[in-house]
Amino acid sequence: MIFTKKFFAESGLIAGLSVVLGLAFHVPVIRQFLAEEFARGFISGKTSPGIILITLAEAEDLFAGGQGVFIDARSRKDFSTGHIPAAKNFPFEKAKGKAIGEVAAGIPSGKAVVIYCSGKDCPTGFALAVLLRDQGLEEVRVFTGGWDEWIAAGLPAERENDQE
């Protein structure tokens, strides 16, 4: 019989201890949450310096002005079925390895780097941004709305996979 009084007492102790330690250890994070600093996701400038989250309008401005280098973090297959025109495809899974250095080196200086993935809930865009930031890029933008938002807004798209 698993569910003995002893089991519940010991489980309660472990769970209680975990909650107390978890809350006590991260008081600043709880304060940030209560101050609604995480309204756009659990991203903090303090823990993610150099990464800027941008909206569709900002992404559109960078695109229209030709000031941005767009990086698509989705898979090659998703990329080939449609992407932001002139975007470079760096699937996150591949960028995770040694190729990330080449990715960083291939980005022209003086342009804003904008990374996106499928939509606002996909994790790979932000994760790729962290990798690139760690490679020395000073400012990396993440277009959080991603491909879904871009295409839903009727913005230009390129279908063929003409990168590389």
């Binding site: 978890g22 809350l23 823990t47 809930d121 996909c122």
Partner: protein
Amino acid sequence: MIRNKHLLCAFRLIVGGLFIYAGVIKIADPLGFARDIQNYRVLPPAACLFIALALPWFEALSGAFLIVGIFKRTSAWLLSFLLAGFIVLVVVTMARGLDVDCGCFGSLSRKADGRLILEDALMLFMALEVALSSPGRRTLS
């Protein structure tokens, strides 16, 4: 059911060690783990944060207790429940067609996929063997 005490000891070290590692790496980056939980699109933000703060400690403490032999069987059961829960979560996530990182090992996590289910199942087997082993042994050997 495995009765070899050396094998059971190895299971405790493997499962306990992995959970300590998984816990500590996430304690160091609570926001990263909160993002991973949020990506599963199951819970509201407050619940994601609460789990991101408490679960890593739960994993690390249970793993440590499993190894040192305090609350050994309870820890083994708790980790078994966790692993079973993870398997269900990954299966449901795959069925929903979501492309997410598992969140298991912080920034070292990889995609929630079939291989992850197999690994979790192997861990679950080891944890259950310890949980179902004869009670009363409180030392490493």
